[in-house]
């Protein structure tokens, strides 16, 4: 601990030469969060990583000071303008061997602690619980393997803030609708994969960054020491909205976590029952259009744009498209199965049947697509599960 403080002091005194820097530090949100340096984080591993980082940084600073010191001394003293006469030496075997061997020894000194930490980090065995994390353009899906709970987690920042029409909030771009919740003090294993392109799940405070590769599953783990809210982002370029898929994790005390997960199971159960109830009901055109617009703006508009015109050459328009104005069954099929070989994913998992029904109705009647078609949840159920 003493060592860390000393190193931090050194880092800060090296870094803090701008007033901006000093201001930013005082404005940092929570303890341990720095705007200048890596954060120590809240797991034993992340603390080890931070110590390694500071050790490396210190060694690099020492090397730089020595090498540049000699060079600057030479630049001041051995100047032609001071009538310096050039010496005649141009090789020295002893010196040359020394400055090959000494850096080599320094490297061994760096590699040993690094290797130890690395072995700890990659040992995801014997977890207390497991979460399956699936990235897709541009959201995360969390599935608790030990409970019947799964949900999507998407950016919660309003478009108005991004478009500079509203004041930006404190956690601008680092907030989601439903964060991942995990217990403190337990070894949580993350299984990480993707449904489309490569994403990377990164929480700096856990020192966990692992790529989500489509078709493959990666492992990582964290044992969080302190309850709190921890924010990160997707770290691998994954297309247009790569900058807009944050990761938020809430760590709760085990008892609180237990209560939370049980509540979630109950909510999931109720939602299933509600879904069944809605299947028997017909919604009115107004209800469908209102619900549909809400779903469209949060889910579809990222690619197909709020005005339904898409991005020419990248994402097709829905306004006036043959799909949205033609056969209803083909339209439903695209939403529940996606289109192979394109960015259009299946939404059967992310949306409820009534939401799919509403959004299809909305797409078929908005922006002058006035087909007059109404799609009900039971139509979606029929398409997904066969006719009753």
């Amino acid at each position: 601990m003493k060592c860390r403080n000393l190193l931090s002091f050194l880092a800060c005194s090296t870094f803090a030469f701008t007033s901006t820097a000093a201001e930013s530090v005082s404005g940092a949100e929570s303890q341990g969060r720095s705007d200048l340096n890596l954060r120590p984080g809240v797991t034993d591993i992340s603390n080890q990583v931070y110590d390694l980082h500071m050790l490396m940084f210190l060694i690099c600073v020492i090397i730089a000071v020595l090498v540049f010191g000699v060079m600057f001394y030479s630049m001041v003293v051995h100047r032609k303008s001071k009538n310096a006469k050039p010496a005649n030496f141009h090789e020295n075997i002893k010196v040359e061997i020394a400055w090959t061997v000494v850096p080599f020894l320094i490297l061994i000194g760096m590699a040993v602690p690094a290797a130890n930490t690395l072995i700890d980090m990659e040992d995801a065995s014997k977890p207390d619980m497991t979460v399956l994390i699936t990235g897709s353009q541009w959201k995360w899906h969390y599935k608790y393997m030990d409970n019947d709970v799964e949900y999507f987690s998407v950016l919660a920042t309003q478009q108005e803030q991004i478009k500079n029409r509203l004041q930006k909030g404190e956690n601008y771009l680092l907030e989601v609708d439903r964060p991942l919740v995990i217990p403190t003090g337990q070894k949580v294993r993350f299984l990480i994969t993707s449904d489309d392109v490569i994403h990377s799940w990164w929480v700096p405070d856990f020192a966990v960054k692992k790529d989500a590769n489509p078709g493959f599953i990666n492992e990582a783990w964290a044992r969080v020491n302190e309850p709190g809210i921890y924010r990160g982002q997707c770290a691998e370029l994954c297309g247009k909205d790569h900058g807009f898929m944050p990761v938020v994790v809430i760590a709760k005390e085990p008892a609180e976590y237990q209560a939370w997960i049980e509540e979630q199971e109950a909510i999931a159960q109720r939602a299933k029952e509600e879904e069944q109830r809605l299947l028997a009901m017909n919604m009115s055109m107004d209800q469908l259009m209102t619900q549909g617009k809400k779903t469209y703006d949060t889910v579809c508009a990222a690619c197909h744009m709020p005005n339904g015109e898409g991005l020419p050459g990248v994402f097709p328009a829905i306004k006036g498209s043959p799909i949205a104005t033609g056969d209803v069954d083909a339209h439903i099929d695209i939403l529940i199965n996606g289109v192979t070989g394109t960015s259009m994913a299946s939404f059967a998992k992310q949306l409820t049947m009534s939401e799919i029904a509403a959004v299809i109705t909305y797409q078929r009647n908005a922006w002058g697509n006035n087909t007059g078609d109404m799609v009900q949840a039971k139509d979606i159920n029929a398409a997904m599960n066969g006719k009753e």
Binding site: S24, G27, D35, L38, V49, H53, M56, F57, C60, A64, V67, V70, S74, H78, R79, K80, S81, A84, P86, A87, N88, H90, E91, N92, E96, W99, P103, A111, A114, A115, T117, L118, I162, K163, E170, Y172, D196, V197, I198, W202, K209, K210, D211, P214, G215, F216, N218, E219, Q233, A235, E236, G239, K240, D241, H242, G243, F244, L311, G313, V314
Partner: protein, 534 residues
């Protein structure tokens, strides 16, 4: 190091006129097989591409000046980062080094021209078409490539636009051009050295380029393979990188970085050569440890083939592989360190003066070393998990590529320009260019270390509020650095109009080597009869 006893180029007589006739007009440049003309073409092309790629960087920095989306849409932002990277790597840095090789290798080894002059013409003239194709894709419906210059699959295959085909084609042409340029350098150095110019007497610029040329021939076909697989995956239904068809998206990264890491050294080894020419001249002292410089260059080149996966630590490799690539990567710092120590030892107890090329060379040594040290930090796998794909990486590779490779190219231009034109460049403008560039480039790239460590990912068009202060400064530095290059443009235009004071043959009083023994400006044809090197 070397000296010529018989430079017949000195006695160019009237009777040589038919030989020394310089064609006029556009056809001179289109049909030229003269290494000096082709060198000039390469250098101007590289500089134009540097300005084009720089303009794209200005778009990026303008968007990132404040949080929120102001100027461009995310999709266009991604096209800018992608094409900026491709242009700077393949259009600016690599052609500039090839241009320098064309001008200097024959003059340094006492050869009359490059060994394969017609291929030399071709390898240049396909380049403008490659970049026309790439740039024109930006105007297609859906825009140009938006998947990053590293074009990771499946973002570049299943999920990319139709302009991918143009991207693949243009990368193929760039690769063909580079391979032909590399063959030319190797054949020239192997076969056309003047009598007495043994390998261990060759100037270090020649040595580093020889090794670079072998790297190019080794890895450009790997890049060609990668883009071809992307093409067939996207358009012809293959599944090299698609797990659904039995492929693996991570395979793409292995192939790409097997090209990509040696590529990094392709962009820095010639820079080492340039600095090793300039530092002894202005120290008025022989280069310290010539032989160890050659061996260090060769070891860096060899090691560069076994470190590629350090770009991929987060892809989920086995621990053993992570260990191997960590240690192999750390090892590279040993020969690189040797180079820096040798330059400092060359300056030690020399008789230093600080003309413009030396100022750029010293800036190179300091700033490249900073980039090298952050590279050493990135090599440490467990910490790399935190640095990877953040602005810390962006800071690292811009320190080695801008204040490294680009500064070395500028140093080289200032060093040899008087030899090429016969006139001293405008020193006042050059000083302005140096100081403006030096200050702005650090305002631009140094704070990137901080935002990266604080957690800002790269390749994002918008960012969280705690990164706002630094990003503002980074953008200011970026605009200033961009504008500073217009000073360089003005200086180069003046130089090409042959304004300025005439210079002596040796130009710099400590300069040694064959190129300083021919007249200034260097005649259109040099070393018709080879000099003899003692």
């Amino acid at each position: 190091m070397t000296s010529a006893t018989d430079t017949t180029a000195h006695v160019d007589g009237e009777h040589h006129d038919d030989h020394h006739h310089i064609p006029k007009g556009l056809t001179r440049w289109l049909f030229t097989t003269n290494h000096k003309d082709i060198g000039t073409l390469y250098l101007w092309f590289a500089f134009i591409m540097f300005l084009v790629g720089g303009a794209m960087a200005m778009v990026i920095r303008a968007e990132l000046f404040q949080p929120g989306l102001q100027i461009v849409e995310p999709n266009f932002f991604n096209q800018m980062t992608t094409v900026h990277g491709l242009i700077m790597v393949f259009g600016a840095v690599m052609p500039a080094f090839t241009g320098l090789a064309n001008w200097l290798v024959p003059m340094m080894i006492g050869a009359p021209d490059m060994a394969l002059p017609r291929m030399n013409n071709w390898s240049f003239w396909i380049l403008p078409f490659a970049f026309l194709i790439l740039l024109s894709s930006l105007f297609m419906e859906g825009g140009g490539p938006a998947f990053g210059w590293t074009f990771y699959a499946p973002l570049s295959t299943t999920y990319s636009g139709d302009s991918t085909a143009l991207f693949v084609f243009s990368v193929h042409i760039m690769g063909i051009s580079s391979i032909m340029g590399a063959i030319n350098v190797i054949v020239t150095i192997f076969n056309m050295r003047a009598p007495g110019m043994t390998y261990m007497k060759m100037p270090l610029f020649v040595w580093t380029w020889l090794i670079t040329a072998f790297l190019l021939i080794a890895v450009m076909p790997v890049l060609a393979a990668a883009v071809t697989m992307v093409l067939t995956d996207k358009f012809f239904g293959t599944s090299f990188f698609d797990a659904a068809g039995g492929g693996d998206p991570v395979l793409f990264q292995h192939i790409f970085w097997f090209f990509g890491h040696p590529e990094v050294y392709i962009m820095i080894l010639p820079a080492f050569g340039i600095i090793s020419q300039i530092v002894p001249t202005f120290s008025r002292k022989k280069l310290f440890g010539y032989a160890s410089m050659v061996y260090a260059t060769a070891s860096i080149a060899l090691l560069s083939f076994v470190v590629w996966a350090h770009h991929m630590f987060t892809t989920g490799m086995p621990v053993a592989a992570e260990m191997f690539f960590m240690i192999a990567t750390m090892l590279i710092s040993v020969p690189t360190g040797v180079k820096v120590f040798n330059w400092v030892a060359t300056m030690w107890r020399g008789s230093l003066s600080f003309e413009i090329p030396m100022m750029f060379a010293i800036a190179f040594i300091v700033l490249f070393t900073i980039g090298g040290l952050s590279g050493l930090m990135l090599a440490i796998t467990p910490v790399d998990f935190q640095y990877h794909d953040t602005y810390f990486v962006v800071a690292h590779f811009h320190y080695v590529l801008v204040t490294g490779a680009v500064f070395s190219i500028m140093a080289a231009v200032y060093y040899w320009l008087p030899k090429w034109t016969g006139k001293m460049f405008d020193i006042t403008l050059a000083k302005w260019h140096f100081w403006c560039s030096l200050i702005s480039v650090n305002v631009l790239f140094f704070p990137m270390h901080f935002v990266g460590l604080a957690g800002m990912p790269r390749r994002i068009p918008d960012y969280a509020l705690q990164f706002a202060d630094f990003n503002k400064w980074i953008s200011v530095g970026g605009f200033a650095f961009g504008l500073s290059q217009l000073i360089f443009l003005a200086l180069l235009i003046k130089a090409c109009r042959h304004q300025g004071e005439s210079v002596s043959d040796q130009v710099w009083d400590g300069a040694e080597g064959l190129e300083w023994e021919i007249p200034s400006p260097a005649p259109y044809h040099t070393f018709d009869t080879p000099p003899v090197v003692k």
